[in-house]
Symmetry: D2
Subunit: 440 residues, 4 copies
Amino acid sequence: MCGIIAIKNHPDAAELVRLGLHNLQHRGEESVGMASSDGLNIKLVKKMGLVGDVITDNDCKELSGNMAIGQVRYSTQGKSIESNMQPLYAKLYGGELAIVHNGHIARASGIREKLEKDGSIFQTTTDTEIILHLMAKSKKDDNWNKLHDSLKLTSGAYSLAILSKDDILIARDKCGIRPLIIGKIGDALIVASESCAIDVLGGEIIRDVEPGEQLSLSVPNVYFLNKKQCLNNICVFEYIYFARPDSIMEGKSIHSVRMRLGKQLAKEQPVNADVCIAVPDSGVASALGYSEVSGVPYVNGILRTHYAGRTFIQPGQILRNRKIRMKLNPVISVVQNKSVVVIDDSIVRGNTSRRVVEMLRIAGAREIHLRVSSPPVKFPCYYGIDTPEEEELIASNCSIDDIREIIKCDSLGYLSYNGMVEAIGLNDCCDACFNGKYLI
Amino acid sequence: MCGIIAIKNHPDAAELVRLGLHNLQHRGEESVGMASSDGLNIKLVKKMGLVGDVITDNDCKELSGNMAIGQVRYSTQGKSIESNMQPLYAKLYGGELAIVHNGHIARASGIREKLEKDGSIFQTTTDTEIILHLMAKSKKDDNWNKLHDSLKLTSGAYSLAILSKDDILIARDKCGIRPLIIGKIGDALIVASESCAIDVLGGEIIRDVEPGEQLSLSVPNVYFLNKKQCLNNICVFEYIYFARPDSIMEGKSIHSVRMRLGKQLAKEQPVNADVCIAVPDSGVASALGYSEVSGVPYVNGILRTHYAGRTFIQPGQILRNRKIRMKLNPVISVVQNKSVVVIDDSIVRGNTSRRVVEMLRIAGAREIHLRVSSPPVKFPCYYGIDTPEEEELIASNCSIDDIREIIKCDSLGYLSYNGMVEAIGLNDCCDACFNGKYLI
Amino acid sequence: MCGIIAIKNHPDAAELVRLGLHNLQHRGEESVGMASSDGLNIKLVKKMGLVGDVITDNDCKELSGNMAIGQVRYSTQGKSIESNMQPLYAKLYGGELAIVHNGHIARASGIREKLEKDGSIFQTTTDTEIILHLMAKSKKDDNWNKLHDSLKLTSGAYSLAILSKDDILIARDKCGIRPLIIGKIGDALIVASESCAIDVLGGEIIRDVEPGEQLSLSVPNVYFLNKKQCLNNICVFEYIYFARPDSIMEGKSIHSVRMRLGKQLAKEQPVNADVCIAVPDSGVASALGYSEVSGVPYVNGILRTHYAGRTFIQPGQILRNRKIRMKLNPVISVVQNKSVVVIDDSIVRGNTSRRVVEMLRIAGAREIHLRVSSPPVKFPCYYGIDTPEEEELIASNCSIDDIREIIKCDSLGYLSYNGMVEAIGLNDCCDACFNGKYLI
Amino acid sequence: MCGIIAIKNHPDAAELVRLGLHNLQHRGEESVGMASSDGLNIKLVKKMGLVGDVITDNDCKELSGNMAIGQVRYSTQGKSIESNMQPLYAKLYGGELAIVHNGHIARASGIREKLEKDGSIFQTTTDTEIILHLMAKSKKDDNWNKLHDSLKLTSGAYSLAILSKDDILIARDKCGIRPLIIGKIGDALIVASESCAIDVLGGEIIRDVEPGEQLSLSVPNVYFLNKKQCLNNICVFEYIYFARPDSIMEGKSIHSVRMRLGKQLAKEQPVNADVCIAVPDSGVASALGYSEVSGVPYVNGILRTHYAGRTFIQPGQILRNRKIRMKLNPVISVVQNKSVVVIDDSIVRGNTSRRVVEMLRIAGAREIHLRVSSPPVKFPCYYGIDTPEEEELIASNCSIDDIREIIKCDSLGYLSYNGMVEAIGLNDCCDACFNGKYLI
């Protein structure tokens, strides 16, 4: 997963991109990159680390011009190496380009091999570079048509923004799996992975970019690659876990969707407990919904430290399993001798759940009932979320009762598939991770 | 404010000090320092920044030995400069020492001047160095008695730990203003500013260090400087704002105290609202208490970003007041068109409250009722908390109604002094910031 | 100008490349880069700065494998930016390559434009990348023939080394302008820009690479691109100024050539002086020759500081012209009240000469006679030496008498063109900088 | 050995100190430090590394004020650690001070112990800090008298400069072992270890600071600690090896002294050889003198690389003894098949000489005759030069014939003691390293 943003027609474009990326940081913590154009030249800054740690005021000053793009990256395709940082930059015949990209191109390695045979030299191992080479190979005269040619030859689950000297082009995949939303701030147009990045800039949301749409931020020219074939299948995990609670996606508030997931969970999986607590942060909204319907009082039973930094090594026996305690700490006085219902958003490998239960047990919880506000995750994602292969997905290999044994909680309950669909209120999410029905 | 920790008799002493300091990070984000002894030599590491960012595994490896001390620092006395980082180190006749310190020595500048006249050379502008010079001047033969001599000549609000080649000495001021607690982990003894640092190591709490107590972690020898004169006046702001919610201080859970403050606030300052939200993180427990008593449902209306980093500059008109929105973001769908009651722990200058109200207003809140879970702060603190002088304390200069005007909320209510005292449940807190009755 | 080196079949290949580059440092101080192959993977290290300052032991350890290449770079073509550092790396169909290059490709911008029109994406602004793209475009099956195709399409003044997983290919331009020499050390083959890099490794010189020759360091396979058209026109400035005095080039000792230039200069431009001094370091050999023939005793009158570092700014009036004194310092006791003949290797813009004369004047020299061991430089170099355009070449614009006036010496004498040719003893040097007869 | 400099009454004081230190760099390459005063505050910069590498323009800008001091350090007393970098800084009663120091205080550890017993806290392991503590202990009112008190209690071989808010004090030991010279530049006064640092600033030399003299750079007040006891015994090694050839010390040009040493050596130790070469750089002047008297032509047979950087590790057998070749390279064409006389300034351990001979042998020299322009070094130096203990001094343990065997040269000759004394022309040098007659 990654987060992207593009802004055109604002005198502080780079500064706004930085602020927007800061609010997309949850979509990728590995590296951050920005590019701007002042109408004559494209400038780039790319660094490993968090926006707030590595991008300086001086970086923003040097990225002059009234249009800019940016990305925060969590490596899925392409090894985690510096040369894979985005934006990628290239000089094509006809001018220079910078590109940021979120997602995954289908059958990328085949396309790449064909291009290499033909004499193209790749600089990175990322999917994104394929788009650039296809554009370079296009015999069309302008970037709009070069990009169109390039997208016709690829499919997948992606959103992208391409900066040239005098424009920004935007595209979203035709299945609509990765989110992308348009807003404005005064005369400036903003496109971002999530609405929270538009909101923090004081901007107004216009609409989601439609599946299969290609846009120019200069001319509000809209083109559909092949409108008939376009679907609207946004990734269900954006609602469950990935997006920020204050974002609005396809017209739905993430926070409200998660509250409804929690309410539905309370109906399907009730439990008699003293207190209801959340695994922070993504479980909080569901836990508040669960508490409201069940009447079990919500309390702040697990703290999440704000100081992440590097992962600590664990010296010796005594510190076994301390890693999770560094970020999550139980409030002993709240859970001691209590029966607690713990709300988490999902179970993937089961490791976190196991440690949360152990931590609460050490803190003195009498009973621990785990409730999960999504169905069992049984299938890997091929569209840009870094879920493991089937053999590592606990729900692919174990019954619910086995999972409860492994996690060592007193009871375990998942939300049903139908309950989830109803709570989200969308007909056509991509939910292949729950049912194995892949779109591409 | 600072946080300190000391561990003796554990093979991974430095590693544990690091883990403990990570959990005391909220007490000081400016610098971090550690020292260890292997029985022969004392080694130091001191760096500007957060524990998780700057202390490496290699640092811990080099700090060999089974005893170590550490500090996270937020500069109050002593300018924010690198040379003031702790632990301070000195070679005295009789051996080398490293010292960490939390708090404030009364009449420090007078003592310092006297020492300088007598030929002592100071390396820093910190209070802490005075203790070292007084120890160097003592004609006693051992560190225990040198420290005792030194403490007899000083008073104030402090906790400290002194590492020598073969022992760690501990002391707490005789008014008991700054917290200090003892725990154990197996055969090792731990002393820390807050219990959450003992808890994260899997340790057990033994008891608070008593006011005026001096301890050696080798011999469990206990000495009271002058037991009759000792008081127990822990700082009330530790309960209201400063300590971590999962800490236990003087036998009381911080989280529970804050819940009670919120419950009491709901009784004293009720309001008819659609939702109850907290200014994170310190307002969350009070808001949950307020919600429970008032019946106004608690919702997650303000998000706190986990990515702090540097403060962002704000380009141009459009981004005015964006600084607070970078860390605190409203969940628009939760507050839009709602009447909200917002719980904060305290109002000092009023700037944060004003911005929170403005932010919620922009996000579409219909009515904003601010409730504060402590009385008006009218007097500066001279005991180590960095509150401003009276002229900057909004409640020293304005009536409650004026404050409401400045903050631009629809209504404003503070917790009463008596309500606070009852909710905390301690007779003898230092609450000079509320009533001006200073102890020293 | 740059310096390159390649080593095959030595277990410490990267370490030897580092040592060799250290001895080629005078050919480029801007950046240094190395690549190695262990038969499976190519690894790179590229850094701005000097070999001894920036390449660590650890870098050498990571560059495992028994073949390696390296370059020290002084930017001529291609701006002085980090992305232009060499070796360039690329993944072609058929495998990965790293390339180092010294010199200049003729008509580079035209070839580049044609490649870009055809869809090639360039990452740098260097000449070198053209070779890579031409290889990528070649339909030949192996690197040997891809390189051959690529060289057929280019001409210029260059030497290059290309590392693949299992071989190193070498090529030298067909005019023979840039030097390149082969040596061996045990079973290992070494190719370097100058013999001093082979010598420092304890290696033996085999022979110069011939103009137009393409070599593989695996198979001692030799191929001449088009033997009939090949010339042997090594750059005359290598002998006069650029190469290190302990190198041997086309069978001639640089030190001996410079001695002979000085002897010839003494015959052509005698002067009655008390002492003969050199502008270090390149003037020393000529000055010793001048002294021997003229009988004017050679003394060490100008010291060159070993500590270069950054250029110092010059505060205020008093320090005007101190910059040159930082590196060159007169030995006052040697020149005071003396008539001195100063030997320099060449005059390009005239700035250095003017400052040297001023410095000696301040130091108390009574008379200053400047003698130059090469003819007037009247034409710019297009083959990789960074000489200025004609309007900045002092001898293009001024008579010798005018130059003397500008430099403010008491007399000035240049070596004659014929005298230079005779002293060097080569028929076919490239001496376009003296006579404007360009080869390509 | 170290180099110090102080400048008062110049608007660019820090900038000039930097330039001066650059020219004293040969006296210490480990660390560099500077301090300035603007009349109100003292500011410091201290860094590990060379002046030109680590002191930035910005450092100089921050060191505002019209007086400044500086030091380049080569650790003799005091371990090579960052905390020992100079200037040392201290706040004494009566104001702040910064001190730089070159040399060695006699019986330092005893004085230090006494001070520590009395309550002084030392921050470093350097001699220099003793002066500061003695000043802090003095009951005198002003720095002039505090320093006087302090110097009365110490003896040794040192030069020092002390910066206070409004003055610079200077002192030189009463045996006159370490050099110190005064100059001026306009209205500004300069004091430096060597005249070359005054010269590079365009300054004029006034005179050497006299042994036992204490100076204030404000009031040209001169005080002799105890004039009768003062001697003039400058270190003979300054002339032979340590000082820069363009410096003038006690009225004598270092370059001329070395020329004379070479001439005397030619008379005492003649040899029939083809060429005369020097071990650079300190052997060059002697070699020119040797050549002049002997008639053996001087040639440039050994190059010294200007790129020092870190010492390279030596991989494997093949590179044994390459370390010296990295800095010193033979010019093969000059020495091959020749009988050479090699002039070096001294032999201490014999390692360098052995490697130089081996290097020349590999380069093809037919006969190698080593001539040394000083007598055998038989006794260690206790006055600040880092010579080894007797057991490592080759001339303490071996006859001249044995040394020749070890070094593997064809003949070996030293200058006689009387020859040296005569060539230098001073009656009272400290030459304990040659005769064991220590002064203190």
